[in-house]
């Protein structure tokens, strides 16, 4: 280098690149780079889950019926994705919207009420204009809800968590009041739900392609907004450093208004689709807990709850990952799989976020089970594993009589006892393993100063 300064001065970037690729570690690094980013990791994770589901599903649905399975996942992912996009935009701008689920319930009920009020009946056919007006009205209602959030947050100065928690509770209640009143007035009897039989309206959600196309279009627009426009850049800035954004002469209050409106309107769109899909607007059960699914999808997709960090493509992948995991559980467990949904979402979020946190902080050298909290955590995890083991044992006892027989509990005869045994054994095994891990951790931390 020293002998030949002009050459290196002429093309430093090339020389730099050559040096980077020349080492074997450099080559390895460049192959792995896409997977280091959360998007690459997510694609990998999605493929792994699909593969596992194909193998573990006793009917091998994915293998036998790939087309319908894919459409089914796509349709569900699209419905979840539409309001998850809104949640992601709010999170990137440094806020949080806990109200998605209730906004879905409220706007679904509002749309149904509007249609029934306009048509004066719960008829088979409502007329196309009634439907259009009802949908437009619902979207405007979404704007109003978003604006109300923005007012609570920017003018009253409520923390976003509190403001949207209030509407989470309030809007569902309001929706129930509304439905009871509308049914009383229009149909003459008070009920807690409104049935929608209209074929044209239901086609919105029962057709596979409308939700999917809508999701693709909305995701494209959201991506354009967040990565190519001035407003998107400002939203990222707002999430990263609100004070500095304001001091850069940017109207932060208006940005928040926009973010919460996008969130609420997208939830309203989802609300309309959900009542179309189920043909009934029942505010008591519609969209309960969906806000957490949306936040989970955004966070799994790489959005930071501190704000400022996150992408729309990541969020879309997060949506698919979450939906595929839920579908996998349904395929593997078969009966009553929906009651496991919350459990799965919770686990996925903890694992995904913990993983990204630990990767950032070089935390793999951390001690996870130190001190009294560590001991309680070991007990916690053992109990959890035991419970899961017992549940899996139910399947095992039913499906694999061989295994049950080996344990001395003949299949079907004493399934409950077999379940308890399996659960207990699992808990014990996990307990011993974690205790060993704790011991190993403490050894290691003494060895390295």
């Amino acid at each position: 280098m020293k002998d030949n300064p002009p050459a290196s001065a002429v093309s430093p970037p090339e020389a730099d690149a050559a040096r980077r690729v020349a080492t074997p570690a450099g080559v390895f690094e460049s192959i792995l780079r896409p997977f280091r980013r959360s998007e690459g990791g997510l694609i990998l994770a999605i493929l792994v889950v699909i593969l596992l589901t194909t193998l573990l599903d006793t009917q091998h649905t994915y293998w036998v019926d790939p087309g319908p399975s894919a459409w089914n996942i796509l349709r569900h992912a699209a419905m979840l994705g539409i309001f998850a996009l809104g949640a992601a935009i709010v999170i990137i701008s440094g806020g949080i919207d806990l109200s998605c689920g209730s906004v879905i319930a409220f706007s679904g009920s509002f749309c149904a009420s509007l249609m029934v009020v306009l048509a004066r009946q719960e008829a088979q056919s409502l007329g196309i204009w009634n439907i259009v007006v009802a949908i437009a009205g619902t979207l405007v209602m979404g704007l109003l809800i978003g604006s109300f959030h923005a007012w609570l947050i920017t003018v009253l100065g409520l923390p976003p968590f509190v403001a949207t928690l209030a509407t989470l509770v309030g809007l569902r209640s309001l929706a129930r009041v509304m439905v009871e009143n509308v049914t009383q007035q229009v149909l003459g009897h008070r009920t807690t739900q409104i049935q929608i039989f209209d074929k044209q309206f239901r086609y919105l959600a029962t057709s596979v392609w409308i939700p999917v196309v809508l999701f693709v279009v909305l995701a494209g627009l959201a991506w354009l907004l967040m990565s190519r426009t001035v407003v998107g850049r400002h939203l990222h800035a707002l999430g990263g450093n609100e004070q500095a954004t304001r001091l850069s002469g940017i109207q932060t209050d208006r940005l928040k208004w926009l973010a919460y409106c996008i969130g609420a309107v997208l939830s309203s769109v989802a609300g309309i689709l959900y009542i179309g899909a189920t043909s009934v607007a029942e505010p008591q059960t519609l969209g309960v807990g969906y806000e957490l699914n949306a936040i989970a999808a955004a966070v799994v997709g790489g959005c930071s709850l501190q704000g400022g960090i996150g992408t729309i493509p990541g969020t879309v992948l997060g949506v698919f990952f979450l939906r595929i995991v839920m579908d996998a559980v349904a395929k593997v467990i078969k009966t009553n799989a929906d009651i496991y949904e919350g459990l799965i979402v919770g686990c996925v979020v903890v694992v995904a976020v913990a993983f990204s946190q630990l990767r950032q902080a070089r935390g793999m050298r951390k001690r996870f089970f130190a001190g009294p909290l560590g001991i309680v955590t070991i007990i916690n995890m053992s109990l959890f594993a035991g419970a899961l083991g017992a549940l899996a044992g139910q399947n095992a006892a039913l499906n694999m009589s061989l295994f049950a027989g080996a344990l001395g509990a003949p299949a079907g005869q004493n399934a409950a006892l077999g379940q308890i045994t399996i659960g207990g054994l699992t808990a014990l095994t996990v307990f011993v393993l974690l205790w060993l891990a704790r011991f190993w951790e403490s050894k290691r931390s003494i060895a390295s100063p």
Partner: protein
Amino acid sequence: MTAMSTFIDIQHITKQFPGVVALNDVSFDIQAGELHAIVGENGAGKSTLMRILSGVITDFEGQLSLRGQPVAFRGTRDAEEAGISIIHQELNLVENLSAAANIFLGREKKKVFGLLDDHVMERAAGELLVQLECHVHPRQLLRELRVGDQQLVEIAKALSLETDILIMDEPTSALTESEVARLFRVIDRLRKQGVTILYISHKLDEVFRLADHITVLRDGKLVRTLPRSETNPRQVTHLMVGREIEAVDLGAPRQPAEVVLEVENLSLPWRGHARAWRLQNIGFSLRRGEILGIAGLMGAGRTELLECLFGSSPEPPQGHIRLEGRPVRFQHPAEAMQAGIALVTEDRKRLGLFAHMTVGQNITMCTLSKSARAGLINQRLERFMAEGIVNKLNVRTSGIDAAVTNLSGGNQQKAIIGRWLLVKPEVLLLDDPTRGVDVGAQAELYRLMDQLCREGLGIIVTSSELPELLTLCDRILVLCEGRLTAEFSRQEATEQRIMEAATLRVQESA
């Protein structure tokens, strides 16, 4: 210097952060009962070393010995038990607790059933505070105390831990003269009690007044440890920067043109505070092609004054501001920016930088809509604008796509100044622009400000470093507790006279 009296022995300590070697094979020792000053520029590794000594940083290479015994702290608790306490520059106290509660935080005295024994704690705290000439009631809430008293509360906390090694990080940076004098008396008394003191400062007059030994760090390396009696400030400065500080010569005197900004009777109320006014009856004017300096101690209202001019003050100011002859009243920084006023904030990390963004994105933040059509960013134009600034201001970066956090403090500051130059302002407000910037980059920033000024910009700059203002400014205003106490032209101004004006009211009230 026998091994017997070596109290703290620092052997070959190296500490790396991602991308930076903060300390590189540093070895020296500290004698029992001495006051050992550690000096160096920003980024020299002083605070990293102190964080290692006080147990904040626990993973480092090298060996630390105390009283001849090797020690390995696992946390600040271990260091406290070994008798080491640290008084941070940013005080480490809970504002909503009383002085006594702060002193005993984490080691509260208890009665039966684990109830707090406030009476005992308050009496003990009172005794400690009296010993330190700090005349506040132990039950007074910390946020009601002046910075100097808060600092003494922290020292009292250290004493209650039976500390025999006290680390003080820039302890005088926020104090008035009388408070500094009191602190020095306290330090003398502590030394008589046999407390070993590590004193970190960049104010050489203090260091030479107090220290027995002076250790100079530069770029993470130990330069030398010198007995005070065998050295002088000039030599220490030389060792700190590795060269004589070149006096920045900004050439011929500037020729200020017409008045661009006028301020009359500007006042900013301070609700619920004893002083009632953050700023009171401020009046001055700024010409094009002029650098106006604002001097004052911490809390004098320098930052608040700039915030009023930029429309970002906590509440709207009273009085009149005229920009190019037109009266203006800004509700939001956006309006100030539109009218041609730019503010480079004091606290770069908190108020200026977008740490998760690239250098280019940081530069174009204010002017993004200029490079956009129908809201869509024209990326070519954006890159062109950012690269223009990088070249014009000589921002040293590997490219505009580099993360802004990879830049040194001085280059980050240049990027932020560049952000505001793109706005093409009439008036540029710079709030302590060289804070956290090393000496070399400081000189560059001075030249940049001079150049911008000669291009016709009106500049207002605040600083806590008087030599900086004396180098840069055509005129200097002095604030003291929210009032304008003096105005000097470049010829009239001396450090002595500015200091007198800045502490006027403090001395009166003391």
